[in-house]
């Protein structure tokens, strides 16, 4: 019994050679016996023949094939150059870097080179002149503890001067150190450092009982004259 839908399902397989050789003859007999199935087969064959013809007509010419093949080989040769060694690549290889990144890196390097090689100005430390320097008070000078203290001339057998540069406020202050040598031999080597407040009257006698040690200001001593 001829079953058109069932046969037509197999027609495309027949056209596309998906039917076993022993089945092909049986199927062709079936198709031949039915006009509709035969029409279906012919239409499929015609469709594929037209497709093949189109594909054939749109193929490149011999000259175009040659161009294509030479392009392919050229591109292939460009992509697969002989491998370079690691060191060759390190020193002579090129690295693709985006232009903005490259520009930023160049700017950074230029800036770093400028700051590294610019001449460093070393200003000499200002010399303190006790005669010309203005007198400072505690109100004017926040570092009043380090201000100049003048002691009576008769009590200053030796005078030492040292320069203290306080880096934090960029100010040079002078401290005068009076060394009082007592006639007592036991106390001869005793040195008293006094740094008094500015409000202390100049004429007041030196009261060592009120002596307080210097708070740890940790000043940098640049130069010191030792007795």
């Amino acid at each position: 019994m001829h079953d058109c839908p069932k046969i037509q399902e197999k027609i495309l397989d027949l056209v596309l050679n998906e039917i076993e050789p022993h089945e092909q003859k049986l199927l062709l007999d079936e198709v031949g016996s039915c006009a509709l199935c035969r029409a279906e087969l012919e239409s499929f064959e015609q469709t594929l023949a037209l497709y093949d013809r189109t594909a054939e007509l749109t193929q490149p010419t011999t000259a175009e094939w040659q161009i294509y093949e030479s392009n392919l080989q050229r591109r292939f040769a460009g992509e697969t150059r002989s491998p370079v060694s690691f060191w060759q690549q390190m020193f002579f290889g090129t690295v693709k870097v985006p232009a903005p990144v490259l520009a930023a890196a160049a700017l950074f390097l230029c800036g770093a080179a400028f700051f590294a090689w610019r001449p460093i100005k070393s200003d000499p430390p200002p010399q303190f002149n006790a005669e010309t320097a203005p007198a400072t008070t505690s109100a004017q000078n926040p570092l009043s503890i380090l201000t100049e203290v003048k002691e009576p001339a008769e009590k200053t057998p030796e005078k030492q001067t040292e320069k203290i540069v306080v880096r934090e406020v960029e100010r040079v202050v002078t401290r005068k150190i009076y060394v009082v040598k007592k006639p007592n031999a036991r106390d001869q080597s005793k040195t008293v450092f006094r740094e008094t407040a500015a409000e202390a009257p100049d004429s007041s006698p030196l009261n060592l009982a009120e002596f307080k040690p210097v708070p740890p200001a940790a000043p940098t001593v640049i130069k010191e004259n030792k007795p």
């Binding site: 495309l12 006009a35 239409s43 490149p60 094939w65 392919l72 292939f76």
Partner: protein
């Protein structure tokens, strides 16, 4: 695989580019034809076929010689085709219609080419590739199904739809012939 093919591949695997160029010469046209049928654009086809060859060169060392070289190459080709994105929406099928043809021939080819382009452009890339692998490459349903990791029934249905669509676009009518 013939001895000469095996020898060429062995040389290419050791880094002999001249040997690989011989492989290109041997199979380039077949790859290009399939690429052109798939994307319907000469520029895309050239890009695609070149990509296939570059991938083949990179993974040539994985070829163990258990199958034909072209069978191995076709697997790369299928993966490359399916991951390919066309460079433009506009497709141009008639770039190789020859200038020396007469106007009538040219017109006929253009019409046919347009019909094929229209029919194939309505298909999904996978569906298009299934049809090409069957009709142009002569692969069996099982082989295609293995590549696409689906059943052979799915492949069969897909190809039937493609041929049916082509038939519609070509305007092929069912002409009943009375015996």
């Amino acid at each position: 695989m013939s001895e000469s093919d095996f020898e060429i591949i062995r040389r290419a695997q050791t880094g002999d580019d001249a040997a690989f160029c011989l492989l290109i010469e041997k199979h380039a046209r077949r790859v290009y034809r399939l690429a052109f049928s798939f994307c319907r654009n000469a520029h895309d086809a050239e890009d695609l076929s070149q990509e296939v060859w570059l991938k083949a060169h990179k993974s040539l060392k994985t070829f163990r010689g258990e199958a034909l070289f072209y069978t191995w190459l076709r697997q790369i080709l299928i993966r490359t085709f399916l991951s390919h994105r066309p460079r433009a929406e506009t497709v141009c099928f008639d770039e190789f219609l020859f200038a020396e043809n007469t106007f009538a021939e040219h017109a006929e080819r253009k019409i046919l080419a347009d019909k094929v382009r229209q029919a194939l452009s309505e298909l999904a890339p996978q569906q298009r590739l299934m049809f090409l692998l069957k009709h142009e490459e002569g692969m069996t349903y099982e082989e295609i199904a293995r590549e696409f990791e689906c059943s052979s029934g799915t492949i069969k249905k897909s190809i039937f739809r493609t041929v049916h669509k082509l038939r519609q676009h070509f305007g092929v009518n069912l002409t009943l012939t009375i015996l």
